[in-house]
Amino acid sequence: MKLTLKIWRQKDAKSTGKFVTYSIDNISPNCSFLEMLDILNEQLIAKNEEPVVFDHDCREGICGMCSLYINGRPHGPDDAVTACQLHMRKFKDGDTIVIEPWRAKPFPVIKDLMVDRSAFDKIIQEGGYISVNTGGAAEANNILVGKENSELAMDAASCIGCGACVAACKNASAMLFVSAKVSQFALLPQGQIEAKQRVMRMVKKMDELGFGNCTNTYACEAECPKLISRSNIARMNREFMCAKVI
């Protein structure tokens, strides 16, 4: 396959970036998207140019590190995958591919396609946990959890924190990410005790960090590589209302 790549290049957080066009040839359709970038980088190194910096680690769609906005979609044209699981067979020979970093005020660009997502960590630090000290736990089967709720909690908990929801949302809203964590604990008996505090603190932090507001376009759900449902957002709204009113 022969491709034209239009990639955002930015030296560091302070510099202004620009798009640079590269062409690349002999790409196997079985190659993953990141492997295609590896090949490009090898070629750039050979030409004494600086390779393109992008975040990646596990390359099996679970660490949530890869974060590329490919042709107008976070993680590219395939559904329910991360960029590292995207394969070149999803493109056509001769295609032009535009690769951009996640764009959101709370996700500043560090270099090229790499962004700082520590805002997500900060939200979790506000309450994305159940306060239990090591060693203080009771026998596991003393806490019974219905299969249905347990499955729903697992659905929510499968969030990998990649930020595609924020990247896809026209408002750069983090509602899907935050609601996935709130939902996980809201669905489990263990999470009830701190439920009110949790949702209020996490939402407050989310707002403070400069994420946008949800306007129910559901782009987040459509782009989530783990298919996290927007019903979690509804659940968080519910939790939030109850926490405020009741």
Binding site: N30, D57, C58, Q125, S150, M154
Partner: protein
């Protein structure tokens, strides 16, 4: 350096850990605040330890090279975590879990450690459930279990195919809570470059801020390293791209001996290699072997036809299929331990029965299970894995059997530690996959998560405290101290040297070449000549690397190529040590298979008389290592031939 002292507590096996906890030294709360602990790595062991030690009141600094602690590679573990709860009432017990783990490790693990691991396994489940980890449940609301390789009971707790993710997010949440409370300080996008020793004790690290490229000095009364395994020495492995050996390798050079470096696990169920550009191998959970049957064609011509795309798997008649695991190991069948399954697959492929384009693959077939249980049940159990397979290979595994091949996955070897998880350097601890640990020569499925969390939640908080009780009089040291300056300078010099090479070949090219050597000669099957050749080739490659590697960019900036180069430089030295260790171990055991030492049926031939020891290697100088032996004494169990027939 003193001889190895594993510091196993006295008393009967079942009372050792209780005895230790009852008699260990404690630090009072006001002193805890004055004591700093550095933890490197935020996987299960690192984050669990940081959270627990933070909760206790110590001052913790935690480091990870990723952008968030939640991204550590523990997250990729799929299958599950073992515990001896015996919920299914199938006769499980702590002793049985202990026994299976020792046996699974081919009698090369330390008895007392493994027993402790089995002992705390149940508490881990309690802890995780309390944290809100969404384990699979029965309809009645109680926890569900499934079976896993190497065991005849169902003792594996799981959260779909994402158990590692859920457990890591559990410990990450506990860690996040401590970060908020201020007991733990997080340094993300920081890589440990070296450990700093003051008067022979570990007192800090030199870390590199990966964004600015600047070196930083950090003091700690104790240093815990939980940086995972070194499977990436093979280039292609199931590890994350950034997984590396550098932390434990630098420690090794500073005096922390390396235990059993040649013990690496090759996982049987990975998606086969299909191209030079490939950067990593994807693992498919071992749990697939619960319902999938592994086979190759019985006739060579069928295998050949499949390789050339002339014959489809489904067109091969039942009588022409060789279910080689079921044939060779009727008792365990497709559920034999990983090392056995991997080797059997390699044996068939080497004999010319391999399938797929490269001939390096075997079938994993669900047809029978789908027929017996229905597609829905299979989809419920493995839906995400099937989907993952289809995304990568572009073939529907519900219709066509999957193709799998073994790939480097886990390293049982690692930094040698005593019962307290302390290395041969005082005040320096190693936990999780980074230590040589509890898995002997082979790790059973669902035991890595168990060990990581056991070390982090339930061992280190005791043993580190025991050590620090003796350090309460040591005031925080200034990082201006000469030792810190020297260590930083050494790192600076090394990085400058790397940058100054300005050669012609990229880091990846060297890494790939190293990987090929390692896979060929120090991989699934090894022999004397091959290992000697490997040593020679690695040495040559290393010389070339330091002459010809090309690193673009600058030193004091974000430079992923420099990061990689620094890691590969260490892999090149480690690779040689692995070959030395494999060469020294004239026996076959677990994941270490020496072709010279096999039975007539091709099984491992262990040599307990001469090799029932942990090989702990001491660094002397470049390419020079000294062997120390820790004899393994089995008081409780009878050492037997490992039979899964």
């Amino acid at each position: 350096m003193a001889e190895l002292n594993s510091k196993i507590p006295k008393g009967s096996l079942t009372s050792k850990w209780t005895h230790y906890k009852d008699h260990q030294n404690l630090v009072n709360p006001s002193n805890k605040r004055k004591l700093d602990i550095i933890i490197v790595g935020t996987g299960l062991a690192g984050s669990a330890a940081a959270a627990s030690l933070g909760e206790m009141g110590f001052n913790v600094k935690i480091f990870c090279y990723q952008d968030s602690p939640r991204r550590a590679h523990s997250i990729a573990a799929q299958g599950g975590i073992n515990a001896a709860k015996n919920y299914p009432n199938d006769g499980d017990s702590i002793y049985r879990l202990f026994y299976d783990t020792i046996k699974g490790g081919d009698y090369r693990a330390r008895e007392a450690n493994v027993y402790r691991l089995a002992e705390v396994s149940n508490t881990i489940i309690d802890q995780c459930v309390a944290q809100g980890v969404p384990f699979a449940r029965e309809y009645g609301g109680s926890l569900e279990n499934r079976s896993f390789g190497g065991a005849q009971v169902s003792r594996t707790f799981y959260a779909r195919g994402q158990t590692g993710q859920q457990l890591l997010l559990g410990s990450y949440s506990a860690l996040s809570r401590q970060i908020k409370l201020g007991t733990v300080k997080l340094y993300d996008r920081h890589e440990m470059m070296d450990v700093v020793l003051v008067d022979g004790k570990a007192r800090g690290i030199i870390a590199r801020d990966l964004i600015t490229g600047k070196l930083e000095r950090h003091f700690g009364h104790a240093v815990v390293v939980a940086t995972g395994g070194y499977g990436n020495v093979f280039y292609l492995s199931t590890n994350a791209m950034g997984s590396n050996t550098s932390a434990i390798w630098q420690m090794f050079k500073k005096g922390a001996w390396f235990g059993n470096p040649c013990f690496t696990q090759i996982h049987p169920t990975c998606i086969p290699v299909h191209g030079d550009f490939q950067s990593k191998l994807t693992l498919m959970s071992e749990s697939l072997r619960n319902d999938g049957r592994i086979w190759v064609p019985k006739r060579k011509e069928d295998a050949e036809a499949h390789r050339h795309g002339k014959l489809k798997a489904n067109d091969i008649a039942e009588e022409n299929r060789d279910y080689f695991l079921e044939r060779r190991y009727p008792a365990f069948g497709n559920l034999v331990p990983r090392d056995v399954a991997s080797r059997a697959a390699k044996e068939r492929c080497d004999a010319g029965f391999g399938v797929g384009e490269t001939g390096l693959a075997v079938f994993l077939d669900f047809k029978e299970s789908i027929g017996r249980l229905g597609k829905q049940v299979i989809e419920d159990r493995y839906g995400n894995l099937f989907q993952m397979y289809e995304k990568i290979v572009d073939e529907n595994p519900y219709i066509n059997p999957m193709m799998i091949y073994p790939a480097a996955h886990y390293t049982m070897g690692g930094t040698w530690v005593d019962y307290e998880l302390q290395t041969t350097v005082t005040g320096l601890f190693a936990a999780g996959e980074a230590n040589f640990s509890d898995h002997g020569a082979n790790r059973l499925g669902a035991s890595a998560l168990m060990q990581g969390l056991a070390d982090g939640y339930f061992v280190l908080p005791y043993t580190v405290q025991n050590y620090l009780a003796g350090e309460i009089r040591v005031a925080r040291m200034s990082t201006d101290k000469a030792e810190f300056a020297e260590a930083e300078k050494a790192v600076q010099t090394r990085l400058e040297k790397l940058m100054a090479i300005k050669g012609t070949r990229s880091v990846d090219q060297f890494h790939k070449e190293l990987g090929k050597i390692m896979w060929e000669y120090v991989g699934m099957a090894r022999n004397e000549a091959g290992l000697k050749k490997a040593i020679e080739l690695i040495r040559k490659l290393r010389v070339e690397f330091w002459k010809d590697v090309k690193i673009p960019g600058a030193l004091n900036e974000l430079n992923p190529e420099l990061e990689k180069a620094n890691r590969v430089a260490d892999f090149m030295e480690l690779g040689e040590l692995m070959a030395h260790d494999a060469l020294n171990r004239n026996e076959s055991c677990g994941g270490h298979f020496r072709e010279e030492y096999q039975t007539e049926e091709g099984e491992c031939k262990r040599n307990d008389d001469d090799y029932k020891y942990v090989a702990a290697w001491e660094y002397i100088s470049d390419g020079q290592f000294k062997l120390h032996k820790e004899d393994l004494v089995y008081e409780e169990i009878e050492v037997k031939q490992r039979v899964y027939k």
